[in-house]
């Protein structure tokens, strides 16, 4: 993965900044109507962005707290027989349309932030769970054996050998999940979940192209930014030597 080197990271960050600058420049020079100016007021945009991030990050946090321990448990000996079936379910679960999950959750939990958060959690939990399990599974069995062979206990092998070696795959899953979350959070607007999605629906409903473009581009840039942060973390947290 050549593009994972620091140079790729710089390019990505530069790309995001340039994208944002271009958006701002366009908004400043474009001939905007009163409605557009109102909707795109800096304070409002900031508010939507913060809401969007809150949704994403809270959901991500819950996902991590739930999926990683469960993923670890499911690869331990007593539950290992579940690994295969869970992976199959996880794979097909991901085919469920995010939009449908969001709307169904609204039926169940009512409208608003929490329904949105829970549906985001449901949606993102699968890739993280999956990658945690796959990451642990792909650790060379001989290394586990070597660890056991020198007298490490099962938990010591997990902490010192398996988890560190699973980190790259797990982080990749977490990054994917986070990026998915940013995109999916845009759907929260359908159930009053807040976030930048409102700009997209408003833009479409009222044919306010500037609002629509601002919303879409901001969501995309935010996704890229989160992806970038994920890559930086991956870069730093990847154990040296592998």
């Amino acid at each position: 993965m050549v593009w994972l080197s620091w140079r790729g990271l710089v390019y990505q960050l530069v790309g995001i900044v340039v994208g944002l600058a271009a958006l701002v420049a366009w908004l400043l020079t474009a001939d905007l109507s009163a409605v557009e100016l109102n909707t795109l007021a800096p304070a409002a945009l900031w508010g939507y962005t913060v809401e969007h991030l809150q949704l994403t990050l809270l959901a991500a946090l819950i996902v991590l707290v739930v999926a990683i321990p469960v993923g670890i448990l499911l690869t331990r000996r007593p539950l290992r027989f579940l690994t295969g079936p869970v992976l199959v379910v996880a794979n097909f679960g991901q085919a469920a349309p995010a939009l449908g999950v969001v709307v169904l959750l609204a039926f169940w939990l009512g409208f608003g932030f929490w329904a949105a958060t829970v549906s985001l959690v449901l949606y993102a939990v699968l890739p993280v769970l999956r990658n945690t399990m796959v990451g642990l599974q792909q650790v060379d069995a001989r290394l586990v054996e070597a660890g056991r062979g020198m007298g490490m206990s099962a938990s010591a092998v997990l902490l010192k050998v398996e988890l560190p070696l699973a980190v790259p795959v797990m982080l990749a899953g977490i990054r994917t999940a986070l990026v998915l979350l940013v995109g999916t959070a845009a759907l929260a607007t359908f159930i009053n979940g807040g976030g930048l999605g409102i700009l997209i629906t408003t833009g479409v409903n009222l044919k306010l192209t500037s609002v629509l473009v601002t919303g879409s581009v901001l969501v995309a840039l935010l996704a890229l930014l989160i992806d970038w942060v994920g890559r930086v973390v991956e870069h730093v947290a990847r154990p040296k030597g592998i």
């Binding site: 020198m150 007298g151 050998v161 030597g241």
Partner: protein, 407 residues
Amino acid sequence: MLPVEVTGASILLDHVTKRFPGQLKPAVDGLTMEIPAGKIVMLVGPSGCGKTTTLKMINRLIEPSEGRIVVDGDDVTDMNGDELRRGIGYVIQAGGLFPHMTVATNIGIVPKMLGWDRARIAARVDELLELVSLDPALYRNRYPKELSGGQQQRVGVARALAADPPVLLMDEPFGAVDPITRLRLQDELLSIQEELQKTIVCVTHDFDEAVKLGDWIAIFNEGAQLVQYDTPERILGDPANEFVENFIGSGAGLKQLTLTRVAEVGLAEAVVGKPGEKAAAVLSRVTTAGHGHAVIVDDRQRPIQWLSRRQLARLDTIDSSPDPKLPVVGHRATLNDALDTMLVSSAGAALVTGRRDMFKGVIDVNTIMEAITKAQGAAAEVSADAPVGLNTGVFPSPIVAEEPGQP
């Protein structure tokens, strides 16, 4: 090779059986086998015959279904497995190094688990790196992927030795390295063993490796059935049955030559001359002795020329220029090396040198033939300290060999 202090422990597998769930036949079937302290025992046999299973039952990575395992007199069958393993070195293919830890961390991991302090661990790591011929300053902080396959293997051995365990288990330790590095690693293991005198149990696929490294070789057939458990000499010279013969493969004779060193056979005397002597004088000594050649040695007794009667007859004074094509072997060389050297020499014999390259005598084809015959005779006799090894027989107590296990 004078025996140094033996730090190894003896191991006894006592009627050990391992049945894997869902497997029709046991992987190891009622194996009784004694592994003497301070020796290298090589386990060989066809794929899937139970070598690895046997090895792993010793450190209880695999729990035996039946039977008991005794290390150094203590029954370890019911001991805490993790603790047991901390006291037994374990080396697997390509070292099984942890890729996310440096060489030093890898080696220091067991001492750390045993609660050694930092300084002591660091000192031990350096000591071990020296032992396996890696410069600590250069290699201490590298990651495994920054090492060659052979170097990784050496670190693997160093790690297994870290807490100075009396027993070392190795599962095809040199399987993944190229043949040249493999030879070097084998030599290194032998020299380490000469120094440390551990008990080493080593699985290999390679019969030549078993011959080279093993004090004793156990040849397994399916179900860890012990077909022959004997010295390399006896296995080569007196294979128990056709299975073993097939396993040895062709070239048993030449293989046997590698087991004996030149120093161990009787050498022929030779007429010795010095540069500056009159050739005629030397020739007369040669004639008197009834020999065909005279060896010319320099003032430090190193052979420089090997002159036939004809050459002596043509010379006046013997000069001091060394002959670059002189067929010389050291006394630590194997008979195989000696035979090779004499084949290319026109004399059909070779000069043997001892310490500091001093001339010791002459070895010829007949000496080698005799040595082989003698070795074959010796192989026919069973060594008195042969360890016990059987699959079904009753194991005599106390735990010492009374009768050879082989018919």
